[in-house]
């Protein structure tokens, strides 16, 4: 085990997989010489050369489509899209290309590529650099979507994503890059599609992913002071969704708070809510409570931004409503 920052854990995953498999290569804006605007790929071009660590033009739409077919033709590209806010440019390639080929071509092709990006608010980056578009990508059949909350999962899931034979969108969060935790040494892999219990509890299940897990854990601390035992489920993978873990948690607590940093309407939290209704309706002792970002553009100024984003206090309040 080693204490590692989330960004370092991602870099370790990239380096290890590039060492292990010469068909793995990286592309993205400012990732090679500069090492990425969040420094995730720092020093990798020096180690692996400019053919395997490529700076690209600002051409997200084409780069995503290229990752799809490059993967089909025998290499394993890892594409960095600098901000999740730029994902709409990638969506044609994901939705009209990557999503369809394995199925409509009757299994003739696989597409082992990873699209890494980072989203999330709280940094004052404004309406075009703060979004969480989990629902946009998780909506697409055939695309796996992961969103780790810890450095250990960041490493283990990225390694698993690179080895996966199908498209994986890897969602990071700008406020997690500098968080640290223990990361297992060596070939640490985390299975895609498996949630984890970040904190065990008995009264209410808080289901979250990415940075919202950190907020959910803070909320659980607050609730514990009131005698409420909250269980925090860290989804880790948004698609395919680990229904079994959700079901087991709610069968225990009978109360659910679903949390997602994306917009509320038609957001990922809505999918969680519907899933809970489908798989554990008879376990519910209260309506599912949903915590998400207000349905407006994310404003710039701190008091405005913090009002629209979910946080620990809002999660705790939702838990209290569920238990009312």
């Amino acid at each position: 085990m080693a204490m590692m920052r989330y960004a370092e854990a991602l870099r370790a995953a990239l380096r290890e997989e590039m060492q292990r498999d010469p068909s793995v290569w990286l592309m993205g804006e400012d990732i090679a010489v500069y090492g990425g605007v969040f420094k995730v790929s720092k020093d990798l071009m020096e180690e692996f050369g400019p053919e395997r660590v490529r700076d690209t033009p600002i051409s997200e739409q084409t780069l995503t489509a290229m990752a799809v077919t490059a993967a089909m033709a025998g290499t394993r590209p890892v594409l960095e899209i600098m901000y999740a806010d730029f994902l709409p440019l990638s969506v044609d390639a994901l939705m009209n290309q990557a999503s369809i080929y394995n199925y409509i071509w009757n299994g003739q092709v696989t597409m082992p590529f990873v699209l890494r990006t980072q989203g999330g608010g709280g940094a004052g980056a404004g309406a075009q650099h703060s979004k969480s578009l989990d629902a946009l990508v998780a909506h697409i059949p055939g695309i796996k979507v992961v969103a780790p909350a810890t450095a250990a999962d960041a490493k283990g899931l990225l390694k698993a994503a690179i080895r996966d034979d199908h498209p994986v969108v890897f969602l990071e969060h700008k406020l997690l890059y500098n968080t640290r935790d223990e990361v297992p040494d060596g070939d640490h892999l985390v299975e895609i599609g498996k949630a984890r219990i970040a904190r065990a509890g008995t009264d209410v299940s808080i289901i979250a992913s990415s940075k919202m897990v950190i907020d959910a854990l803070k909320a659980a601390d607050e609730l514990a002071k009131e005698g409420v035992s909250a269980e925090v489920v860290d989804l880790r993978t948004l698609r395919p969704l680990d229904r079994d873990t959700i079901r087991a948690s709610i069968a225990k607590t009978h109360h659910a708070v679903v949390v997602n940093e994306g917009w509320r309407f038609c957001g990922y939290a809505a999918e969680l809510s519907a899933t809970i209704m489908e798989c554990c309706f008879d376990e519910l002792d209260a309506p599912v409570e949903r915590v998400a970002t207000h349905d407006i553009p994310i404003p710039y100024s701190e008091p405005l931004e913090s009002t629209v984003l979910p946080d620990a206090a809002k999660i705790a309040a939702a838990a209290r409503r569920a238990l009312a």
Partner: protein
């Protein structure tokens, strides 16, 4: 028009909940469309909600001070007041409806207003399993929604001992990962897992609790061997199934004897024993009670015998006798119980002995007894070896866990905690 007074988005687009500040009309007051009927307050401002139609304020579902979510129904406007005031929903056949009503649909319509009962899915399931009519329950959730706690409270209030069916809706578990060792509760003769409903709220919430069910009791008519060892084997199997490798045991009456027998088992280590008026410490037992309890066919014939269980007959809930009889009828446990009584307690005599088991048990061991016990004499406490802690409860009969739940829970947790320290 529905006549529902709802908390809609009008109170602010991003509002998630609001607090009811005041009702402008009283129940039964005539209201006109467009007239303010209720004021709610959000984090940002107070908002007035107007009546959408003319009529009479027929129901107030969210009283002043209640916190309500978006879309919640705060009250209803109707053409006339319902026959019975809605807050005091009548307890029609509340506790123990006829078996036919067990299959009642999720939506229960009662009263002239045609009001849909607001009940959580879990609460509805628990009520159905326990044979409770949701119409007879008072909801404590937002907008008067019936939650599982309301069902549990109703079960506690109405059927502490041999409750209807299996109130053990969550049979062998409740909570927590704090300890790998569950607290196992073993009920007495003629009762079932629901016997512990009054005790459980007083137990430390962090402990996982398993309520065992003796064969021939509750919903399990099958009885392989009517011996003490046979009963103990079944309970041990239930504990093993939970995956526990150690546990703390609490047993009442016959269940106390079962717990004592289990204390020396090699499969699941028993850390502590708390026995409540246990059987097996002396020959005497109230044979008249056993015979009368088993022979009774009507509530009137059973009630006098049940009164003997407790120090003060008033502590027994109404409807309890009916519940016992219906359980017998529905699950056919009467014959099995007669078989157990005939084998273990023939002719007003206990044939079972647990003194040796207690002698050998080295963990914390408490025996609790009510001074007014009329089923098994408290004098049996005098037979106990010196390492046993004895508690003698004033004004309590054969059912200390029902009659003095808080105290019994405190003593149980003392015993459990001292095992943890040891």
């Amino acid at each position: 028009m529905s006549g529902e007074i709802t908390l809609a988005g009008g109170a602010g687009e991003y509002m998630e909940s609001a607090t009811v500040v005041s009702w402008s009309a009283k129940l039964g007051d005539p209201v006109k469309a467009g007239e303010v009927v209720v004021v709610v307050e959000t984090a940002k401002a107070a908002t007035e909600i107007e009546a959408e139609r003319d009529g009479i304020l027929a129901e107030i579902l969210a009283p002043e001070g209640a916190e309500v979510g978006i879309g919640a129904v705060l009250g209803r406007i109707a053409d006339s007041l319902p026959a019975s005031a809605p807050q005091a929903v009548t307890m029609v056949e509340a506790a123990f409806p006829a078996p036919a009503t067990l299959e009642m649909p999720a939506i229960v319509v009662s009263g002239e207003v045609g009001r849909r009962i607001s009940i959580s899915p879990l609460a509805r399931r628990l009520a159905r399993q326990a044979g409770l009519d949701p119409a007879g329950l008072t909801g404590s959730g937002p907008g008067g929604r019936i939650k599982s706690r309301d069902v549990e409270r109703a079960l506690r209030e109405r059927a502490p001992v041999p409750a209807v069916a299996s109130a053990a809706a969550r049979p062998l578990s409740s909570a927590s990962t704090d300890s790998a060792a569950p607290l196992v509760l073993i009920h007495g003769f003629g009762a079932n897992a629901a016997a512990w409903n009054t005790l459980r709220p007083h137990l430390d919430g962090g402990r996982q609790v398993l309520t065992a069910e003796l064969p021939g009791h509750g919903r399990t008519a099958a009885l392989s061997k009517p011996s003490l060892d046979g009963l103990a084997e079944t309970v041990l199997a239930q504990i093993e199934e939970s995956g526990a490798t150690e546990c703390d045991l609490v047993g009442h009456s016959l269940g106390g004897a079962v717990a004592a027998v289990l204390s020396g088992n090699l499969s699941v280590r028993v850390r502590s024993l708390t026995l409540i008026a246990p059987a097996g410490l002396g020959p005497e037992i109230d044979g008249a009670f056993l015979a009368g309890f088993l022979a009774a066919r009507t509530p009137e014939g059973l009630q006098p015998w049940l009164d003997r269980l407790v120090g003060d007959a008033a502590t027994l809930p109404r409807g309890y006798a009916q519940a016992v009889l219906r359980e017998r009828e529905r699950f056919g446990v009467g014959a099995a119980q007669a078989d157990v009584a005939q084998t273990l307690f023939p002719d007003s005599t206990q044939t079972i002995r647990i003194a040796g088991d207690l002698e050998r048990f080295s963990g914390p061991l408490k025996v609790l007894w009510g001074r007014s016990d009329r089923i098994i004499p408290q004098a049996h406490q005098n037979e106990l070896p010196g390492h046993v802690a004895c508690h003698s409860l004033e004004g309590v009969g054969h059912m200390p866990h029902v009659e003095a739940g808080a105290l019994v829970a405190r003593l149980v947790m003392q015993c459990v905690r001292s095992a943890a320290v040891a």
